[in-house]
Each structure stands twice: as structure tokens, then as C-alpha cells.
């Protein structure tokens, strides 16, 4: 399914490099993302998927290169402003364990946007309903399953109504039987026309939901295109090898 509502460019990445000491993780990545696009980042562990996502919202500062969000360069100075518009979902959820599900969702709107607590709570409950967790609003993360925690984490990112959502292998830390409920929520977000960058090993999800698939290898984009092309008729040997490994595993 290819979303039709692809619109104006929202994110432009130009020749991003990232090194940790001597280790070159990203070796010049450029990418343009348009509004409404769902881009799946695939590739082996260590290929740079996570680092690319983390360079976009500057959890890691790129060694070189520029990231523009709505034509404005993301710098250390405007970081907090930019991050409000770029939601992020982590592999390990990173929910705040001392807060209930609802408080996890409402904290940022209250403290960052200054939304009135009553208003934030109303919105928070709506968003939790969206991820089908309205009943768990008052549970602490420790009382939720992994799939439920990840859905709360998605709701937490959505609460700021971001224009772009980054998903860093959101189902990799889940037990297999819990993966489906998280992908289901993400599928719905895609259908609503959300702009999403998803690092994932779920090839079925990529094929079904993504408008574009990027295959990362050793810090570069080796191959990119529509899912049916990259996933079914890859041009590169490395892509073929990778897909063979991933599909055999499943």
C-alpha cells in the first residue's frame, strides 16, 4: 500500500557523517523526506540505521553534514524547539518508570508546551485510546507488558503532535507474540498520513506500509526504492544476501 498523500519536503539530510572515535558509522548519507512518506530503514546490525535516526534529532551530533527540518538547519541552539516536532520511539521503550502511562503521555505537553494539566489529560486519554490503552492509563510501566509499554511510548511521542516520527527498531526488544500489536498501531499511523522513518527488521511491515525502503550497509545507502523493488528485486548482491538471511531467520 503506497500512501497517496505525499507532499512537500519536510526533512533534508545532506551528506551526514558520524564517527565514534576511529569508527566511521555513517559515511555520507543524504536523504530527502516528503510529508506523508513512510520510509523503512533496513540493514544489518551496525549498518548505521539507529545512528542515522539519532543524528536526525541530534541525540548524536553528526561529525559532518547538515540536517534540515522544514528548511531550517537543526543545530544545538534550536534543538529543543525542533525536537518537539520530531517524535522518537526507542527500541527499549524508555518509558519513565516513576510515572503512570497517562503521566508519561502528558508530561511533555505540560512541561514543554505548557498545556493546562486538565487539557493535557484529556488529550492524553484520547491518544492512549488511539493506541488502545485507555484502560491502562493509570498503570505504571512496570505493570504493563512490553507491547503495551511500547504503545505507551508511541502515545508519548504523539502527544506533542510531531510532524515527523522516528522509530528505532520499535519491535526488536519484544517477545514475538507482542510484535503484532505494536505494528498494528504503527500501520494505523501510516494510514493517517503520518511522516515516519522506521528502522526495522520486520520485512513484512516494510513491504506493506513503507512508501520507500532504504538498505543501509556500512554507513551508506546501498540501495533505495519502492518496497517491491528493493525487497523483491534487489539490484545489489549485498541486499540480496541480507534479505536471504533475514527471511530465512523468519
Amino acid at each position: 500500500m503506497t500512501p497517496s498523500a505525499v507532499g512537500a519536503p519536510i526533512l533534508a539530510i545532506q551528506d551526514i557523517h558520524k564517527a565514534f572515535g576511529k569508527l566511521q558509522v555513517l559515511k555520507g548519507i543524504s536523504l530527502d523526506v516528503k510529508e506523508g512518506e513512510v520510509i523503512a530503514l533496513i540493514g544489518a546490525s551496525g549498518s548505521g540505521k539507529s545512528t542515522l535516526l539519532r543524528c536526525i534529532n541530534r541525540l548524536e551530533a553528526p561529525t559532518a553534514g547538515v540536517v534540515r527540518f522544514r528548511n531550517e538547519e537543526i543545530t544545538a541552539a534550536n534543538l529543543n524547539q525542533m525536537r518537539r516536532e520530531i517524535g522518537m520511539v526507542f527500541q527499549r521503550f524508555n518509558l519513565f518508570p516513576h510515572l503512570t502511562a497517562l503521566e508519561n503521555v502528558t508530561l511533555a505537553p505540560r512541561k514543554v508546551l505548557g498545556v493546562h494539566p486538565a487539557q493535557a489529560e484529556k488529550q492524553g486519554r484520547e491518544i492512549l485510546d488511539q493506541v488502545k490503552l485507555a484502560a491502562k492509563a493509570d498503570c505504571y510501566p512496570g505493570e504493563l507488558s512490553g507491547g503495551q509499554q511500547q504503545r505507551v511510548a508511541i502515545a508519548r511521542a504523539l502527544a506533542l503532535q510531531p510532524a515527523l516520527m522516528l522509530f528505532d527498531e520499535p519491535t526488536s526488544a519484544l517477545d514475538p507474540e507482542l510484535v503484532g500489536e505494536v505494528l498494528e498501531v504503527m500501520r494505523e499511523l501510516a494510514q493517517q498520513g503520518r511522516t515516519m522513518l522506521v528502522a526495522t527488521h520486520e520485512m513484512g511491515f516494510a513491504r506493506e506500509v513503507a512508501s520507500r525502503v532504504l538498505f543501509l550497509d556500512s554507513g551508506t545507502i546501498l540501495e533505495e526504492g519502492p518496497p517491491e523493488q528493493v525487497l523483491e528485486n534487489p539490484k545489489q548482491d549485498r541486499t540480496r544476501e541480507f534479505l536471504a538471511r533475514v527471511l530465512n531467520r523468519a
Binding site: 525536537r83 522518537m88 524508555n94 519513565f96 518508570p97 512490553g146
Partner: protein
């Protein structure tokens, strides 16, 4: 007499190398005497750091000297004479309830009356008495201090002799092995640490391993009573008083074997004050006040030698013992201990009597702890945040502070804050100084607890908060610190309990907290068992509720105790709460 450090030149040879260098250093720099050799008396281990302390105090002396003018005019102007004493030394100075009593107290009050001013007594732990004189916290010291050439050389000045005393031996009743000083050569002998008793034993060649040094005389006597030591050597009047009170199993061996003269101590650069004190003392000695005090506390008429040779009694500590008029005192000691019940028995009536004072001490301890905890936690948190700050100078500064405080004894920090700060014109009262010193110290330890707590929080928490657009302070405030606080509660409780007990160290700056009250009762009534039982009960009464409250808090905060992202969650919460 009591608390004598360097009476005999020969005793110097027995001091550690460090201590000797310390003396030479002090002498060369013209340091106020008495202070340096006396520090070790409190805790032996303090000796190495006293070098550092001496440097600090020298600084004070050098800077404060300019400001110091003749105190006599100031005393007359304010109508108040401040005298420091260590009131754990019956019959000379001790406390009954909150009231100072004893021979020295009566003499001091009488001198004040002669000078036409009222006397304010500053009760201090012995280790703080002479530093207080140096730091101008008091005008005089009357605390059973022996006049010695050593001290004079170091610049302390003494009044004329106001009491003749001497060293004597105590043994268990009927222990005929011990008849004289020479018999102690191969025995185990207890003494009060750093007193002339100790040096007399060292001089006749008793091996150091046979000399058992105790903090107070009462502990030394208890040791003889328990047959761990064979004898105890100490001041005759103090022995007499203690035997009479509590140690019916012990007896004196003859009279004093060594004369010592007691004097009133003044700062050496105040001859006017000293003259006034001497004049007043002579009047007190002839107008009947002295005789009355002597009869009250020494239980004998004052010996005539002191009066007859009023201008000749210039004590140098060398008069042979047989010329001393001590027969009368010794005679009383023979029929001592009639009403004694023994040092071991728990005297319930004493405990009842002491309880109001102990409770007041406990209140001081509790207030000290509470204030220190408040300041310590706030400052500790700030220091911890500085230590993990990416801003290098802040980080460096905080690290230096923590290492400095952790690496030096709390006792020294208390000294510095109370005795050194006045030199730069920051003079605070005892309680404030106590809270400052304890907070300064506790904050360093607490900051490490916080730092460890903050660093134990998964980095994903900070990343998640920052990715939501929170700035660093907001992320700290709403995400990291709430989790940290819950996690550091147990070690923080530990610190609070330790602090409650460590607060007893501030008694050196004249704070009468719980432990100090206990010590005073132990010495005044010669019943350490009773006094310390009360102290222990009150400490427990404070620590147990504290730990209980923390347990309740920990339970209430349980839900967060498993921030294990990734692990499929089973609601262990309730089970954990029951554990």
C-alpha cells in the same frame, strides 16, 4: 596535674618523630603553646593531621594578632569575663544538671567578683579549650591546668599558683604488690591519655606497651577495677574524688609522689589582664573565699603553705613530694567510698536525675542532624550536579571539594570552621558552626550518593526526555531526579544515621549534645555505665523512628523499583511491596 603533655623534657624523647617536628615547627613559628601537643589527647590518630591544623591555626594567630588589643579594657567595658573550662573533672570542674560546679568554678567566680565583672563560663571539650583561648573565644582558661616550663617557653602565661596538687597511685584494695612508683615498672598501668601520670611512668622506664591510655580517668579506674590494669596513676585530688564517689574496690597507695602546681592561663600578650587576675586571686586567697571553696570541694581545710609563702610559691613542678602538705588529703582518701555503689552498677536514681539533661542533649543532637540533613542534601545535590556537569571548571571544583572533605577528618573541619573563620571576621555561634561544619562534611558524602544514584539511571531516560524537547534542567527535574531520589533513599538513610552519631564530634566547639551530656554525667558521678546506658537508649530512640519512616517511604514508592525496559513485564510490584 591533669592533661599534661610535655612537663618533662625527657618525655619529648618518647614522642613520635612527627610530633617532635611539629613542636619544633610550632616553636619556631611562635605558635601558642599547649595547643599542638594537646590535640592528640582527643584521638591518638589525630596526630598526623595536627601538623596541618597547626599551620591553619598559625595563620589565625598571625592574622588575628593585629586585631587583638589588651582584653582588660574590653572585659571591663562589657562587664563580662569569659573563662573556658572542660567540666569533666571533679572536683575541679564538673556539671550537675546544667550547672557548672567545682573548685575552679568557685575560684573563677570569686576572681570575677574581685574584678567587678560577671563571669561567663564557656564549657568545652578539653581539645577545644586552649584553641578557644587562641581564637579569642574566651579571656582565661581555668581548667586544672598545670604550670610547666614547657608551656611557659611556648608563650602561655600563668597566674600565680592557686592549687598544689600531685600525682598518686591507685590499686585494687589489698594488692600489696604495689607499694611505690618503682613497683609499677613491670605492671600494667592505666592513665589518662597525655597526662603527667603517663610521662611519669615513661620516665621510670615502664614499657609503652604496659601503659594503657584512656580518654578519661574514669575509664582508667574501671580498667583497674576489672583487673585488666594493675594500677592507675593520676592526679591526687581527682583520684580522691572518684574513689569517694564510685570505686570502693580501689585504694590509694600513699600520698602524692610528685608535686604539680595549677595556674590560670591567659594569652601571653595581655600582661594587664594577667596582673589584674593575680591581684584578684591574691585577694580571693586571703578574704576567705578560697578557704571556703577548698573546704567545699577538697573536703579539707586549705593547706597553709600556699598562703604562707604567697610570694614564694612560683610553681615549676620540681618541688620534692615529701615537702608537700598533702598528708591531710591522703588521710581523707583512706576512708573514701562509703556511699559508693561501684562504677558498674546502674544507678537508676542517677539516670532519672540525668534524664532531663540527656533529653536536652538529644534535642541538640536532633536539631543538629535535621539542619545538617537539610543543608547537606541540598548542597550535596548541587555538588553532584556539578560533578556530572559537562562544564569542566565546575566539575573540577566539585571534585576537589569532595576529595578534600572526604580526605580530611571531620574533627579538623569543625576546628577550622569554629576557630579559623573568626580570623577573617566570620564569627558564628557554636550551633551555627556545628551545623556548618557537619553540613560541609555531609554534603560531600551525600553528593557521592546522589552522583552514584544519577549515574545508575539508564541513559535512555535522559534520551527519551530530551527527545521530547525537554531541556537538560527539565529532564533532570522531572525524569532523572525523581527516580534518583527513590533509589538513593537507603544509602541516604545510612548517611543520616551516621550523621546523627557523628554529630557528637561538634562538642569540641562547646555544643552540649547528647554524647557530651553523657560524658559529663559519667565523669561527674563516676558512673559511665549508667550515663552511657541513657545515651544509648536516646540515640536508639532517634534512629529507630527514622529508619521506620524510611521503610514506609520505600514501600510507598515501590512501583518504580523495576525500570527494566525490554523485559516482559509481570506485575511483581505487589509482591515486592510485601517483601
Amino acid at each position: 596535674m591533669k592533661k599534661e603533655a610535655f612537663t618533662y623534657p625527657t618525655s619529648l624523647g618518647l614522642q613520635s618523630h612527627g610530633a617532635m617536628r611539629l613542636q619544633q615547627f610550632a616553636r619556631r613559628m611562635g605558635a601558642c603553646p599547649g595547643l599542638l601537643p594537646r590535640l592528640p589527647r582527643t584521638v591518638e590518630a589525630v596526630r598526623p593531621i595536627s601538623l596541618l591544623l597547626s599551620a591553619v591555626i598559625l595563620f589565625v594567630l598571625l592574622t588575628s594578632r593585629a586585631a587583638a588589643q589588651s582584653s582588660l579594657e574590653q572585659i571591663k567595658a562589657r562587664g563580662e569575663l569569659v573563662i573556658a573550662t572542660d567540666p569533666t573533672y571533679p572536683p575541679f570542674e564538673f556539671k550537675v544538671g546544667d550547672k557548672l560546679q567545682g573548685f575552679d568554678i568557685d575560684i573563677g567566680d570569686a576572681i570575677g567578683k574581685q574584678m567587678g565583672v560577671r563571669v561567663r563560663w564557656l564549657p568545652l571539650e578539653w581539645a577545644g579549650v586552649l584553641p578557644a583561648l587562641d581564637a579569642h573565644k574566651c579571656d582565661l582558661v581555668i581548667s586544672g591546668v598545670t604550670i610547666t616550663d614547657e608551656r611557659k617557653k611556648k608563650g602561655l602565661t600563668f597566674s600565680r599558683t592557686y592549687f598544689l596538687s600531685g600525682q598518686a597511685i591507685v590499686r585494687r584494695k589489698g594488692d600489696t604488690r604495689i607499694k611505690s612508683l618503682q613497683d609499677l615498672k613491670d605492671k600494667m598501668v592505666s592513665v589518662q591519655m597525655e597526662t603527667t601520670g603517663q610521662f611519669a611512668l615513661e620516665k621510670i622506664g615502664v614499657p609503652r606497651s604496659h601503659i594503657l591510655k584512656f580518654d578519661t580517668l574514669q575509664e582508667g579506674l574501671l580498667d583497674v577495677r576489672n583487673s585488666k590494669s594493675d594500677a592507675c596513676v593520676a592526679d591526687l585530688p581527682a583520684l580522691h574524688e572518684n574513689l569517694r564517689q564510685s570505686y570502693s574496690e580501689l585504694e590509694l597507695v600513699g600520698g602524692a609522689f610528685k608535686q604539680e602546681n595549677l595556674g590560670i592561663v591567659a594569652r601571653h600578650d595581655e600582661p594587664n589582664l594577667l596582673n589584674a587576675v593575680n591581684l584578684a586571686l591574691e585577694q580571693v586567697m586571703v578574704n576567705g573565699d578560697y578557704a571556703k571553696a577548698y573546704a567545699t570541694w577538697i573536703h579539707e581545710p586549705a593547706d597553709t603553705a600556699l598562703f604562707a609563702g604567697l610570694d614564694k610559691v612560683k610553681g615549676d613542678g620540681t618541688t620534692p613530694a615529701d615537702k608537700l602538705p598533702h598528708g591531710a588529703v591522703v588521710a581523707v582518701a583512706e576512708n573514701a567510698a562509703d556511699q559508693a555503689t561501684g562504677a558498674f552498677a546502674i544507678k537508676w536514681s542517677l539516670l532519672r536525675e540525668a534524664m532531663p539533661s540527656l533529653l536536652r542533649g538529644a534535642r541538640v543532637t536532633l536539631l543538629l542532624t535535621i539542619f545538617t540533613l537539610i543543608f547537606g542534601v541540598v548542597a550535596g545535590l548541587v555538588v553532584a550536579l556539578c560533578r556530572i556537569s559537562p562544564f569542566a571548571p565546575l566539575k573540577y571544583l566539585a571534585t576537589v571539594y569532595v576529595e578534600l572533605v572526604r580526605g580530611t577528618p571531620l574533627l579538623m573541619q569543625i576546628y577550622v570552621i569554629y576557630f579559623v573563620l573568626p580570623a577573617i571576621h566570620i564569627s558564628v555561634d557554636s550551633f551555627v558552626a556545628g551545623v556548618m561544619a557537619l553540613s560541609f562534611n555531609a554534603a560531600a558524602y551525600i553528593s557521592e550518593i546522589f552522583r552514584a544514584g544519577i549515574e545508575s539511571i539508564d541513559t535512555g531516560q535522559m534520551e527519551a526526555a530530551r527527545s521530547l524537547g525537554m531541556d537538560y534542567p527539565a529532564a533532570m527535574r522531572w525524569i532523572i531526579l525523581p527516580q534518583t531520589l527513590r533509589r538513593v533513599l537507603p544509602p541516604l538513610t545510612n548517611e543520616a544515621v551516621a550523621l546523627l552519631k557523628d554529630s557528637s564530634l561538634v562538642s569540641v566547639v562547646a555544643l552540649t549534645e547528647l554524647m557530651r551530656v553523657g560524658k559529663e554525667y559519667a565523669t561527674t558521678y563516676g558512673s559511665p555505665t549508667t550515663a552511657y546506658l541513657g545515651v544509648a537508649v536516646l540515640y536508639l530512640a532517634m534512629t529507630l523512628p527514622l529508619t521506620y519512616v524510611v521503610r514506609v517511604l520505600e514501600k510507598a514508592w515501590q512501583p518504580i523499583s523495576r525500570p527494566r525496559a525490554g523485559a516482559p513485564a509481570i506485575p511483581v510490584v505487589k509482591e515486592a511491596a510485601q517483601a
